[in-house]
């Protein structure tokens, strides 16, 4: 009998690669699992088979639904055995198989029996298994036992119940919240880990009640928490409380600081470190408060344990960004870490030193780094480069030695990301330090002479085209650029041609020579290169068009490239030339990448499939293919889908609002989720009595809507041209329903007319606003001018916090936040947010919002609008005033 487990002593010493699982095969193991059904169970053998099954799962093997169900049912038989070891394995494999709801029922009674058993191990594990696989309905049945288990004498049982409670709180909060009293009792437990688990659960139960958390924390910081892990939790909770109660600065005394400082003398390293880190992260921490934390971190720096050194140097590195002076005391310890075996530690040490170093120590440091650079990985080098860049910006006088360093390492071997970091740094230094410009540009020129990365070459050529002509002697760069035309691939050649043209446009004395060079490019083998050369020769040669030329060469393109690309692909060669103004300017919203894996329990087929990504051109294509809507003109905007039904109802319907200049089209995406039904002649009856300015003009029914294949029906309205009319619409889905025989899939001939009430839908002001960003808000704002500016102040009333108020206004206006101003730093009392967009009628709108919290929660807002049209500026104010 081939039982690898029993072969132990046969090939004991001769094979190095011996594994008890050699040649293991899923099919054979599944066969072996039949021993679970034997009337006389052999516990040892059953354990071995379970181990093999777990081994397969652990190696990434998957079981089909049928296989998993079969194994699961066989495993449930093993509850008959009273063998402890086997039972442990049964618990583990049940968790791994994560049975479906109807399968769970089979083991429920066995597990509930174990839950009330006298054996501690049974109770603890049965709780963990049952809570992991159960759903809410069962929970009420076992709640009583769980509450008992929380205060069980045996710490393992108590911990099992508490940890399960933490997991269950995510799905069944209302039940777990009822256990507060028991959990509170468990916080006082003498067993360290029970205390930790109880504290974690208690805090999560109360986390939305700030007062209760405050009370919990202040009572515990006075008492004695025994477990180091629980103490770490407590430190985290206190820093959260401190962060949220921002009104302490006037007295100078920070609540709980004494507690944190006391924790620095705890005997467990994890607590000391947690406290030190918490102190360094306090809002507006003073150097007096920092000192004791820095002192313990400094001790960690010379520890024999790499983990401690790493933790300390990483924290100090962060402190160095805000309080470089506080960290300078550690510089000597830090310098000895440059040669640390662990490269992560060495890199962190170096970058910390670069941040805390003063002007006089720069040269010495650079010497140390040069020897260090050669033996670290690219990703660490990038970190070092970034540190050097900020150092150079801090000490501009040192730019010569730092720039030299950068150009030296630029010449050495390295991957793309690394080279890109260096080039980016040089570019930034050139931009910010005028004295560094000429030498920096020459370094870049030398680099492209021998650069294997097309992307970097073209970036540098582009940059040269902008900065080069402004230098004292632009002619010296021409040679480097023209060399590219001879030696590189087509992409770089085309870039070089554009750069040459820029020199020609900016520097009159060079123009004749540039002409000669460009003419040579007319014989290039590549179309793009020839085309560019021809174009530039023509435009540069024309008289009086210098300003146009400059705009063309240096101006920015305010159209998203993706949109342009798609429009060009859709353009069919014809008499009419391509019009760049027809390209939609709306920034396409990237659908968020799905990070979370699908939930453990599949939702079944009930849920509607996710709506297709709302790309405006897909809609445009769809709408223009419908003759009724073809004459509505250019599509201005399509909204994101709005759900009109609850999840998991018989019919799932959502709506997309398409806005045209004089029309609005509602696109209803319908899904039929009943397999036994076929819907025909589906329409939506819209009642527009609460939308006075709209009049229905057309509707396009959906002929047939079979099970689970989405279809669309449309209703079109006319509205006053160019006017942002708003209104409410109520919707009724009307259709003829036909029974479908599930076995044959054929529908009966006779159908019944039926209706289905949908939720209301609103057309709001934001529907008339396109999200269009601007690259430089201040420039755009200045160039728009104050002619049509409207400023007013609003009281937004009590709000949870500033971020919520900012979001509410952004959503109300439907505009594009610029320069990351939609993000509000936590605890700030005031904030400025910049928005841009295009209003219906193609009117550019810029908005500056200034928020301030006054009083406890009252948010006030100053709204300044600039646009090309006074009426539009007023309209924006009206939206806010009525919203």
């Amino acid at each position: 009998m081939a039982q690898p487990f029993l072969k132990k002593d046969d090939d004991h010493d001769d094979e190095v690669d011996y594994s008890p699982f050699l040649g293991i095969e899923k099919g054979a193991v599944l066969q072996e699992a039949r021993v679970f059904n034997d009337p006389q169970l052999d516990p040892r053998r059953c354990s071995q088979v379970i181990t093999k099954l777990l081994y397969l799962l652990n190696q990434g093997e998957t079981f089909t639904k049928v296989e998993a169900t079969e194994v699961f049912f066989a495993v449930t038989k093993l509850f008959q055995s009273r063998d402890l070891g086997l039972r442990r394995m049964v618990y583990v494999i049940i968790k791994e198989l994560s049975p479906s709801a109807d399968e769970v029922i089979i083991v429920t009674s066995s597990l509930m029996k174990d839950m009330t058993s006298k054996t501690d191990m049974y109770r603890a594990n049965a709780i963990r298994v049952l809570c992991q696989i159960t759903d809410g309905t069962l929970l009420t049945q076992i709640e009583r036992y769980l509450k008992q288990a929380i205060v069980d004498k045996n710490p393992v049982v108590a911990s099992a119940a508490l940890v399960s409670g933490i997991h269950l709180l995510q799905t069944n909060p209302e039940i777990v919240k009822r256990w507060s009293n028991e959990v509170q009792e468990a916080v006082q437990s003498r067993a360290a880990l029970v205390q930790f688990h109880a504290l974690a659960l208690l805090h999560q139960i109360r986390q939305n009640d700030r007062l209760a958390v405050n009370k919990l924390v202040s009572s515990l910081t006075r008492g004695s928490v025994r477990s180091p892990l629980a103490q770490c939790l407590l430190i985290r909770y206190t820093s959260q409380v401190t962060r949220e109660s921002a009104s302490n600065t006037q007295t100078g005394d920070r609540p709980f600081y004494d507690f944190l400082e006391g924790c620095l003398r705890h005997k467990a390293e994890m607590v000391i470190f947690e406290a030190a880190r918490a102190i360094t992260e306090l809002n507006g921490v003073t150097s007096r408060e920092l000192t004791p934390a820095i002192t313990v971190l400094q001790l960690f720096l010379s520890s024999t344990k790499p983990v401690l050194r790493f933790a300390a140097v990483r924290t100090l590195n962060k402190v160095a960004m805000t309080h470089p002076i506080a960290v300078t005391n550690c510089n000597i310890d830090m310098e000895s870490l440059i040669s640390d075996q662990n490269r992560s530690i060495a890199t962190l040490a170096i970058t910390t030193l670069l941040k805390t170093g003063n002007e006089s120590s720069v040269d010495r440091l650079m010497k140390q780094i040069t020897t260090f650079m050669s033996d670290i990985a690219d990703e660490f080098k990038i970190v070092v480069i970034e540190a050097i860049r900020s150092l150079c910006l801090k000490f501009p006088l040192k730019h010569r030695s730092l720039m030299n360093f950068l150009s030296n390492i630029l010449r050495e071997e390295g991957g793309f990301e690394y080279k890109k970091a260096i080039v980016d740094s040089i570019v930034i230094l050139i931009r910010d330090i005028p004295e560094a410009k000429e030498s920096g540009l020459l370094h870049l020129c030398e680099f492209i002479e021998d650069c294997e990365f097309t992307y970097l070459s073209t970036q540098i050529l582009h940059f040269l085209g902008i900065e080069g002509p402004k230098t004292s002697d632009p002619s010296k760069y021409i040679r480097y650029i023209y060399n590219r035309v001879h030696l590189e691939n087509a992409t770089v050649r085309a870039g070089a041609v554009s750069t040459l043209a820029k020199f020609g446009a900016m520097v009159d004395s060079l123009k004749p020579r540039i002409f000669v060079l460009l003419r040579r490019c007319l014989f290039d083998t590549d179309d793009e290169v020839r085309d560019r050369a021809t174009l530039y020769l023509k435009t540069l040669g024309a008289d009086g068009a210098v300003e146009d030329m400059k705009e063309f060469l240096f101006g920015s393109l305010d159209i998203p490239l993706v949109n342009l690309e798609r429009s060009l692909k859709n353009y069919e060669p014809s008499e009419e030339s391509f019009d760049i103004n027809s390209v939609p300017k709306e920034v396409k919203i990237q659908p968020l990448a799905e990070k979370k894996a699908p939930g453990k329990k599949p939702t079944g087929l009930g849920g509607p499939p996710p709506a297709p990504p709302s790309t405006i051109d897909a809609y445009e294509k769809l709408l223009s293919s419908i003759p009724e809507f073809a004459n509505f003109g250019k599509l201005f905007k399509s909204s994101a889908p709005v759900e009109l039904t609850e999840a998991e109802t018989e019919y799932a319907v959502n709506v997309v609002k398409h806005i045209f200049d004089g029309h609005v089209v509602f696109q209803y995406n319908c899904t039929n989720t009943i397999p036994e039904q076929l819907l025909e002649n589906v329409t939506v009856i819209v009642d527009a009595s609460e939308a006075e300015e709209f009049a229905e003009v057309a509707s396009k029914p959906l002929r047939s809507l079979p099970y689970d294949s989405p279809g669309q029906t449309f209703v079109a309205f006319e509205k006053p041209e160019g006017v942002p009319a708003v209104g409410k619409f109520s919707n009724m889905l009307r259709f003829i329903v036909k029974e479908v025989d599930p076995s044959t899939g054929e529908a009966e001939d006779d159908g019944v007319e039926d209706e289905y009430q949908l939720e209301e839908l609103e057309v709001v002001a934001a529907d008339y606003m396109l999200k269009v960003g601007v690259s430089n808000f201040r420039n755009a704002w200045e160039s728009m001018g104050p002619d049509c500016e409207r400023v007013d102040e609003y009281d937004l009333g009590p709000r949870e916090n500033l971020a919520e108020a900012v979001n509410a206004v952004i959503n109300l206006l439907g505009m594009q936040p610029c320069e990351g101003t939609e993000v509000v730093p936590s605890n700030s009392r005031s904030h400025t947010c910049l928005l841009s967009g295009v209003y219906i009628g193609n009117v550019k709108v810029l908005v500056r919002l200034q928020f301030g919290i006054d009083g406890p929660k009252d948010v006030a807002m100053k709204l300044a609008v600039r646009s090309e049209d006074e009426a539009v500026s007023d309209a924006i104010h009206e939206i806010v005033a009525s919203g």
């Binding site: 029993l6 132990k8 002593d9 594994s19 008890p20 699982f21 052999d42 516990p43 040892r44 354990s47 181990t51 777990l54 081994y55 190696q59 990434g60 998957t62 402890l84 070891g85 442990r88 394995m89 618990y91 583990v92 191990m121 393992v156 911990s159 099992a160 940890v163 399960s164 933490i166 997991h167 880990l193 930790f196 688990h197 974690a200 805090h203 999560q204 892990l229 770490c232 939790l233 909770y237 959260q240 390293e269 994890m270 470190f273 947690e274 880190r277 024999t304 344990k305 790499p306 983990v307 401690l308 790493f310 933790a311 990483r314 075996q341 662990n342 992560s344 990070k595 979370k596 894996a597």
Partner: protein, 177 residues
Amino acid sequence: MELCPTIKNILLLDSEGKRIAVKYYSDDWPTNAAKEAFEKAVFTKTQKTNARTEAEITMFDNYIVVYKFVQDLHFFVTGGENENEIILATVLQGFFDAVGLLLRGTEDKKEALENLDLILLCLDEIVDGSIILETDANVIAGKVDSHSMDAGAPLSEQTITQALATAREHLTRSLLK
């Protein structure tokens, strides 16, 4: 911010980076391919370091990984970038020492695979769905080993190896008490 210390995964790999036993507690790696890619990255990154006397640490892709090696066994514990490094190291040490106790000093791949059931139970006792259950190696090993003996099988039906194993288990059990 995650307030409760969170473990993303625990890995036990061999000297070629192949899996012996792994357990993931986070959705960051939804597929087996993603998991294997992570393991490969971790292994290649740490392979050349000397993590035999003290636990070592590295950081990449916004994860903190602490690790320790013995013979051809490579132990790893991963946490998020804001996790307390020392807490992660404590979990690693608990796992490492518990496996040492369970394998009774002969810590190598062969022994680990032969006692894979114990290692899997050990993982089950250390972390429950990303929350730390226990970090004390003696307690972990005690919980795993205290009942791995099967009392039912008559001695005559066991092979010599089995009998020896049973005897050894008896011995360790009494030692661990």
